[in-house]
């Protein structure tokens, strides 16, 4: 999209490095040489990517300011965990059950709240997320604050990778179609979108239910990765963390969400050496990044494998000067 050859160039390099790293990571994984520490981080990174990309669908692409993502994640986590424990469903079916439940809830409670806009929608969705958490805290079947343990730990890093790729492909393919443009038009100008024949209510509910679906998948993967979940895993700070990933990456940029998630998942681990100062540095860096890149790391740009070719074409001539 961008016309700036310099940026195109940089994007090309970043893409190239990303592809190389991804391939190497998988080689190491398949060779069984990846330490559990790193595998664990990769697993959570993948889960965060699913969360960030799915929230981007709602927040960045459709422009609906949602702060309730942890709630959808919680529903996916608990439903999938419960069907695993009590019904013995295989993981993939358990994940789908959780995702469908989250998605239905997204539609059910989403429908009335979609009349709200902007910050009001944000505060209402934040409320919904908290309501979900309080309900989980008070139900018997979820074991309340004591947490639900004994969940089969069947999530593998490959499965997380698979679902992260599915989420990304789903969103990217959608974005490139007339449906994705319909979502974008709502973000840009809802009244004009209506006037162009876009059924904005349908698309908003669609964005919410699709976002909730993938958040549900992420929740299920999380539950089956930890083996134990508690309401504390899904407090509103969790929604905020996901939102930070989306905004830091650039609202509407899928690759931006992925990059920001990678950065924000590694950062707290990389800062471990600072012990008690870790979170101070983390928050200071968050502020600094936002000040220096107000529209996020990627803005609305996307990385594309095709840009790698650009390095060799446009890059060379620039280099000569």
């Amino acid at each position: 999209m961008t016309n700036n050859p310099n940026k195109k160039n940089l994007d090309g390099y970043v893409t190239l490095i990303a592809v190389v790293v991804l391939v190497l990571l998988n080689v190491v994984l398949l060779a069984g040489k990846m330490p559990t520490y790193y595998t664990g981080i990769l697993r959570f990174m993948g889960i965060n990517i699913i969360l960030a990309v799915s929230l981007n669908l709602i927040n960045g692409i459709t422009g609906q300011f949602s702060l309730g993502h942890a709630g959808f994640m919680a529903v996916g986590a608990y439903v999938s965990a419960l069907v695993s424990i009590h019904l013995g469903w295989p993981l993939v079916f358990a994940l789908l059950a959780g995702a469908v439940a989250a998605s239905l809830l997204g539609i059910l409670i989403g429908l009335p709240t979609l009349r709200l806009r902007g910050d009001y929608l944000a505060i209402a969705t934040l409320g919904l997320g908290e309501i979900i958490r309080v309900v989980i805290l008070n139900l018997d079947i979820t074991k309340g604050a004591r947490g639900l343990g004994g969940i089969p730990r069947t999530t593998t890093v490959y499965l997380v990778e698979l679902f992260a790729i599915i989420t990304i492909l789903f969103t990217v393919n959608l974005m490139r179609s007339t449906h994705g443009r319909a979502l974008l038009s709502i973000r840009e100008d809802e009244i004009a979108a209506e006037a162009m024949g876009i059924n904005t209510t349908f698309y908003k509910v669609f964005a919410f239910s699709a976002g909730a679906f993938f958040a549900g998948i992420a929740g299920g993967l999380f539950a089956h990765s930890m083996g134990y979940i508690a309401p504390a895993n899904f407090e509103f700070m969790r929604s905020i963390e996901i939102l930070v990933m989306v905004v830091l990456g650039g609202l509407g940029s899928i690759t931006g969400s992925v990059i920001a998630t990678v950065v924000l998942t590694i950062l707290p681990e990389a800062l471990r050496g600072f012990a008690q100062y870790r979170m101070v540095l983390y928050s200071a860096m968050l502020i600094a990044i936002m000040l220096f890149r107000p529209s996020g790391l990627m803005g609305t740009r996307e990385l594309d494998v095709r840009q790698v070719l650009g390095i060799f074409k446009t890059g060379g001539e620039k280099d000569a000067s």
């Binding site: 999209m1 492909l169 007339t178 979108a193 162009m196």
Partner: protein
């Protein structure tokens, strides 16, 4: 006698204590080009908003080809065949010129979401068709070379043209233009006049336009309706309207 395309029956719009439009009734015949004029705040845009479903009229109803549309949602009304532009230009600013037009093709060239997600052959076929149609339309409006530009980076005149192109992409029977010449210089206005005439024939359109530029209105419109304080005070040919005493009073010795 051409068929009746649009009929407004006793439209009234109240905002709180303020009545913006009072008991307004009119008809528009198929193929007509009608102007809607009146001083600032006369309720012209409110009429457009009622016709397109942005506001639900407090009283009265709108019929498109004898079908009641005033209770429908805006996007359904657009799909039934009324398209519009906006007085204060409402383009999708951060999207490309091409995407602005492609979005408007959505309702008539859509396909199941399934095809988009799984990249079926139908997706490619339909998307190709949308692309081709959009490019053709941009060509007509002289915007083809700007297709990748963000809408907010266009010049003012280009924005106005893009808005019309976008409205046409919805395949309307009736096109509502809200001050299409606002902010244009005389040469641009001249070109716009030609463009409107051209698209009217090419797309077999009926047009209702709000405009302050009297030269354009008088030159273009076959019939003119005059609104003052929400009341229809005149409805006739340009010559009739020009001679109407109430219209002259309404404009308080304006340039009519």
């Amino acid at each position: 006698m051409p068929a009746n395309l649009l009929e407004a029956r006793s439209l009234t719009m109240n905002f709180g204590g303020l009545t913006a439009v009072v008991n307004l009734s009119f008809q528009i015949l198929k193929g007509e080009l009608v102007g809607l004029i009146g001083p600032n705040g006369a309720g012209k845009t409110t009429v457009f908003n009622m016709l397109t479903g942005v506001y639900a009229p407090s009283e009265g109803s709108v019929y498109l080809e004898n079908e009641l549309v005033s209770s429908l949602k805006p996007h359904t009304i657009t799909q039934k065949g009324i398209a519009r532009t906006f007085q204060n230009i409402r383009l999708f600013n951060d999207l490309s010129v091409l995407d602005n037009v492609r979005i408007a093709f959505h309702s008539r060239s859509s396909f199941p979401i399934f095809d988009a997600v799984f990249l079926t052959p139908r997706f490619f076929k339909k998307e190709k068709a949308i692309y081709d149609n959009a490019m053709e339309l941009l060509g007509i409006f002289g915007l083809a070379d700007k297709k990748d530009e963000k809408a907010k980076n266009l010049s003012y005149g280009q924005m106005r043209r893009l808005e019309i192109a976008r409205a046409l992409a919805t395949n309307p029977k009736l096109l509502l233009l809200d001050e299409p010449a606002a902010g244009m210089n005389p040469q641009e206005t001249e070109e716009l006049t030609e463009l409107i005439t051209e698209i009217r024939e090419k797309f077999d359109l009926t047009i209702l336009l709000i405009e302050h530029d009297m030269s354009l209105v008088m030159k273009l419109c076959e019939r003119i309706m005059v609104l003052d304080y929400g009341i229809l005070i005149a409805n006739g040919t340009p010559d009739e309207v020009r001679a109407n005493r109430r219209v002259i009073e309404a404009y308080l010795g304006g340039d009519v």
